[in-house]
């Protein structure tokens, strides 16, 4: 690693730290990858007519895609640990580009389920998600939260740019051409960016995480090279299963999946049950998405300056407040309160969860551990969507589901606060100055 015997440079000779170029490249892959997946909704009506099927059946493709993408995360993480995030992202993005083009060839809804639900969604797990956050965690230590939040913001920007792009593409052409163009864009712009810019580790370029030393380009050798090892870094990822933080982070992220999955699917239906038009509910959800982008970057930025677990706990409690609004406030007030409070906390959990994981478990098995935590999120979301639907069918109201959402969010908040960050996070470990023996041990450890 960066602190090995080869004495890597403590500063980036190219000016701006190279890690930020990687962040920019990954911002774009998130933008184009997440954006084109969100664009799926643009094609629902035209597929309904063209395939002679129902919206429900088309949603099955999206639902399977959700599940497959979640189940693929630990596999993508394991491959990332083994072969490096760059290789996984290259293969994933090439495959994703081809599968996106492939969607344009599908003759019926079953072909769509196979190509989009299984092939494209599995390959998307390699193009962004676990490999992305794993690579970023290697390049950043002090600015990890900020860097991850910028990458995640690419997904929010993707919704704002790629969805209208796909919608207007559909106006001037047909749905098959639109998918060819989207796939072509991933191939022409996304793949070269990953190949040309993304590198697995700063040590590959003779650099240190965050640009080394104090991050001050004018004083590159202010501090001596030092070693800090994540307290729970283990040889094999299985050993981490016996540690509390993995379960604490997984339980909290499972709740994140429960509450966001429930809202993403049932929000418009809830609004209609409250005599709010679908258009107004959709607009509120759009407002939530915009606030989400800003909230994500803000929270990611301040998480680099204060204990991440406290911020994570606060974010869950803010989201609990959003659910409280849904339970107690009348229709429109509930809608807009939720849009604001929910938006502030929607994606903000991700940089802190991924940041804490890397801080506590180190980088050796970061891909696999991130993948496991991500899987808990997806499974929670899947279960909650079905459960909330059942609640509505039985009682004709979402109140019981929202109360459950509120209770689990309070639990997630408490669990997050209870993480012993000062004991387990690398941020709170005292650096050990490098001596020849320590340096050898460190490079052996890598």
């Amino acid at each position: 690693m960066a602190n090995g015997q080869n004495s890597p440079k403590t500063n980036d000779p190219g000016g701006v730290f190279y890690g930020w170029y990687i962040v920019a490249a990954m911002f774009f892959t998130s933008l184009i990858g997440v954006g084109s997946r969100q664009g799926f909704g643009v094609f629902v009506k035209v597929w309904e007519e063209d395939f002679g099927t129902s919206v429900g059946m088309i949603s099955v493709a999206a639902g399977i895609g959700w599940t497959v993408n979640g189940l693929v995360q630990p596999i993508a993480g394991s491959l990332t640990d083994r072969f490096g995030g760059r290789r996984v992202m290259i293969v994933g993005s090439i495959g994703m580009a081809l599968a996106t083009i492939g969607v344009g060839f599908m003759p019926n809804v079953y072909g769509l389920i196979v190509m989009y639900g299984f092939v494209l969604s599995a390959l998307a797990g390699g193009a962004f998600g676990t490999p992305t956050t794993s690579v970023i965690s290697r390049w950043f230590q002090r600015n990890r939260g900020r860097a991850i939040s910028f990458v995640m913001a690419g997904g929010s920007a993707g919704g704002l740019i790629m969805v209208p792009f796909a919608a207007y593409l559909l106006v001037i052409s047909d749905w098959r051409t639109a998918w060819f163009v989207l796939g072509g864009m991933i191939f022409l712009f996304g793949v070269p960016l990953i190949v040309g810019i993304v590198r697995d580790d700063p040590a590959d370029m003779g650099l240190e995480p965050d640009g080394g030393s104090d991050g001050n380009p004018d004083q590159p050798n202010l501090m001596p090279l030092q070693i800090r090892v994540a307290p729970l870094e283990t040889t094999h990822w299985r050993d981490s299963i016996h540690s509390a933080p993995l379960w604490q982070l997984s339980v909290a992220f499972w709740v994140c999946g429960i509450t966001t999955g429930m809202i993403a699917v049932h929000f418009v239906r809830w609004a209609e049950s409250e005599d709010i038009s679908a258009g107004t509910a959709a607009l509120a959800f759009g407002v939530l998405s915009v606030i989400n982008g800003a909230g994500l970057i803000f929270v990611g930025w301040i998480s680099d300056y204060m204990p991440r677990k406290n911020l994570l706990g606060i974010v869950y409690l803010v989201r609990a407040g959003a659910f409280l609004a849904l339970i107690f406030l009348p229709g429109q007030a509930a809608l807009w309160s939720f849009a604001v409070l929910g938006g502030m906390s929607w994606l903000a959990t991700v940089p802190m969860t991924n940041g804490l994981t890397a801080d506590i478990y180190g980088l050796r098995n970061i891909g696999m551990i991130n993948g496991l935590i991500m899987m808990s999120h997806q499974l929670g979301g899947g279960a909650a969507v079905i459960a909330a639907g059942v609640v509505f069918d039985v009682w004709g109201t979402y109140d019981a589901a929202f109360v459950a959402g509120f209770a689990t969010l309070v639990l997630a908040g408490v669990v997050s606060f209870s993480i012993n960050e000062s004991k387990y996070s690398i941020r709170y470990q005292k650096p050990v100055p490098i001596t020849p023996n320590v340096a050898t041990a460190a490079s052996d450890g890598d």
């Binding site: 999206a62 959700w66 997904g155 209208p164 919608a167 864009m185 993403a264 979301g381």
Partner: protein, 77 residues
């Protein structure tokens, strides 16, 4: 058969992804109406503009990365 598959699969998988959920079709129509009202330009123009914006970003990042690499080589000499 189709009905059975639809009911079973939809109840099992009728959910949307938190990080890349597909956008609500109603929201898409609303966004399109607003863009049409505000800009008043043709769909082709909007596709070209958004396409240029999307492609400008990776080209810009690549150009900056190449410039950085040249600078780094110069400094090393």
């Amino acid at each position: 058969m189709d009905m059975w598959i639809e009911t079973t699969l939809y109840s099992a998988f009728g959910l949307i992804l938190h990080h890349s959920e597909y956008v609500d079709p109603t929201l898409v129509d609303w966004i399109k109406d607003k863009i049409d009202q505000i800009t008043g330009v043709s769909a082709t123009t909007i596709v070209i503009v958004l396409g240029l914006v999307t492609s400008a970003f990776p080209i810009g990042v690549m150009a900056l990365a190449l410039r950085r690499a040249r600078r780094a080589r110069k400094r090393k000499r």
